[in-house]
Structure formats: structure tokens, C-alpha cells
């Protein structure tokens, strides 16, 4: 039982149902608006969500984190920089899954700028393109994606200037 309450899925679902019930109890008409919005949106995105999850699942098994680290780890030249500003766009996941991978990259000697570029480029979220275009349209999505590359580039340059001084104790320095 304790485990159930700590479960994220359970928490989100019970919170959702709780809010809907509360609104319904206070004002039935408003409650129906909430339920209707959830219902319509849910079935509107169901096929896209499933498709996107398949894309990300396949990417995860076919492109292993080790492969990514190998691909980007030594990339300090201009080629590596371009790669680090674009390739992470293809990855799924959330910041929670991203940071451990970046720690590995850092231990392999990646520069701070490269790490920052990596995170920013990862924000491109190409696997979610079906969702983005559905809700915000192709012009928005394509413009945002191209700006993400620029964004990643700027972040890399800026963060390299910040460097890594005091708290880099846990990193193997050359």
C-alpha cells in the first residue's frame, strides 16, 4: 500500500481524478467541462503518443548510450561541435534520464560547452515532432528546431567561457 502511494503514476492519476471529482462536486457543469476536455484530448492524441513511444523505444535499443558517448566523447573539433549541436535532437527521454549520460560524457573528458550544447540540442525533441506539429503546426515546429541548433551553438560558446573551476573536483583533469 505504501509503495502504491509512492508510485508516480498512481499519484498523478489519483490527483487527476481527485481534482475532477472535486470540481464536479462543487459545480457539476464545470466538472463536465473538465471531463470532456480530458476525454476529447486523450483520444485525439492517443495514436500519436503510442507512435512516438514506439519511435523512442526503438531508438533506445538501437542507439545505445555507449554509442552516443563514443560518437560525441572525442568530438572536440569543429565536426564534434556540429554533431553535439544536432545529434541529441533525435533522442527521447527527460532531463532525469539525460543528466546521468552527461556525467559519463564529462568523465570521458567532454568540455563544459559540449555538455551544455548537448542538453540544449536534446531540447529539440525530434521524436515528439508528431505531437508538436499537431498542436502548434509545422511552421512553429520547423522554426523552433532550426533555432535549437543555433541555441545549442550559443550555449556551447557561452558555457566554455564560464569554464569549470571550483567544483570540478570529481572530474578527471588531463
Amino acid at each position: 500500500m505504501k509503495k502504491l502511494f509512492k508510485n508516480d503514476a498512481f499519484q498523478f492519476l489519483s490527483l487527476s481524478v481527485g481534482i475532477a471529482l472535486l470540481i464536479y462536486a462543487v459545480e457539476a457543469a464545470k466538472g463536465m467541462i473538465v471531463v470532456r476536455t480530458v476525454y476529447l484530448t486523450f483520444f485525439d492524441v492517443l495514436d500519436i503518443i503510442v507512435a512516438v513511444s514506439i519511435f523512442i523505444g526503438l531508438f533506445q535499443v538501437w542507439v545505445k548510450p555507449q554509442t552516443i558517448v563514443k560518437l560525441l566523447g572525442k568530438g572536440s573539433g569543429i565536426k564534434g561541435f556540429i554533431l553535439v549541436c544536432t545529434f541529441p535532437m533525435l533522442m527521447g527521454g527527460s532531463l532525469f534520464t539525460l543528466f546521468p549520460l552527461l556525467k559519463t560524457l564529462r568523465e570521458k573528458g567532454a568540455r563544459v560547452g559540449a555538455l551544455a550544447s548537448f542538453i540544449t540540442a536534446w531540447g529539440g525533441k525530434v521524436p515528439l515532432l508528431p505531437l508538436e506539429t499537431k498542436f502548434l503546426g509545422w511552421p512553429f515546429a520547423l522554426l523552433r528546431l532550426s533555432l535549437v541548433v543555433l541555441f545549442a551553438f550559443i550555449m556551447g560558446v557561452l558555457m566554455d567561457r564560464v569554464g569549470e573551476k571550483p567544483d570540478a573536483a570529481n572530474v578527471n583533469k588531463p
Partner: protein
Amino acid sequence: MRAGQIYLIVALGLMAISYIKEKQRTRDALKATFKILYTIMPVLIFVFVLMGLIQAYVSRETIAAILGKQTGVMGILYAELVGSIALFLPPAVFPFGGYLHDNGAAYGPIAGFVFTAILIGVTTLPLEFKLLGKRFTIARNIFTFIIAFFLALFMGVVLG
């Protein structure tokens, strides 16, 4: 045909190709897919409830007044703040952004929201501190917020 159905067919096609090439890996992929669905579905439903709440209690005029075109710079800053604080998984960001747009928010603030909701997380800060260091974390989040602002401003101008 709906776009979603086409994506689904492509996804299943890729799954089939993957299965022909390597069965075990495809089983792992399927497991990963279910794990992703299990993680994002409850969050999505929660965000849909939030959308429903806004639908029920917040008028179009209010949304337009906070995030509409004429709010300019302030609208983008508000949206970025919300994006930074909100505990949104990336897949929930776009439905919510699209919903706000349909209800009077301009593209600029939405872009600001999308950038920060994906890249800045108050909830992920402790982990980032721990794994990547304080200096890195603080600098990265501040720079991200500032650059996202200018890019969002630009997107607002271009997309109208």
C-alpha cells in the same frame, strides 16, 4: 487519414523491420515503449485535467491578457517562468502549448514556455547540481532562460 494513424503505421513498420533484424532487441524496444507509455500517460492525463480546469474557469480574454500578442515582452517572461517551474514531461509540453494558443496565447510566449519547460526544471535542479556541478548548473539555467527569451521573441515576430 489522420496524421496520427500515419505515424502509427510507420512506427509499426519500423517495429516489424526491427523484429526481422533482431528479435531480442525488438522485445527490449517493446518493453521500453510500454515503460515510456506508463510514465507519460498519467502525466498527460494530469495535464489534460489542467487544460480542462483552464477551460472551465479561465476565459479566453484572461489568457490573452497574460500571454496574448499585445503583452509583448512580459508575456514571454511569464510563460518562461511557468515553463521553468512546471513539472512537465516533454510530451505534455506541446499539447498544453497548443491548447494555450487555441485560447488566445501568442506564439512568442508559447515558444518561451516550450523552451524552458523542456530545458529548465526546478525539479531536476538537485540532480543537475549533483551530477554536473553547481557552477555549471547555475550558469546553464540562467543562460538558457536568457537566450530562450530572445529566440521566443524572434519566433513571435516571425510567426505573428
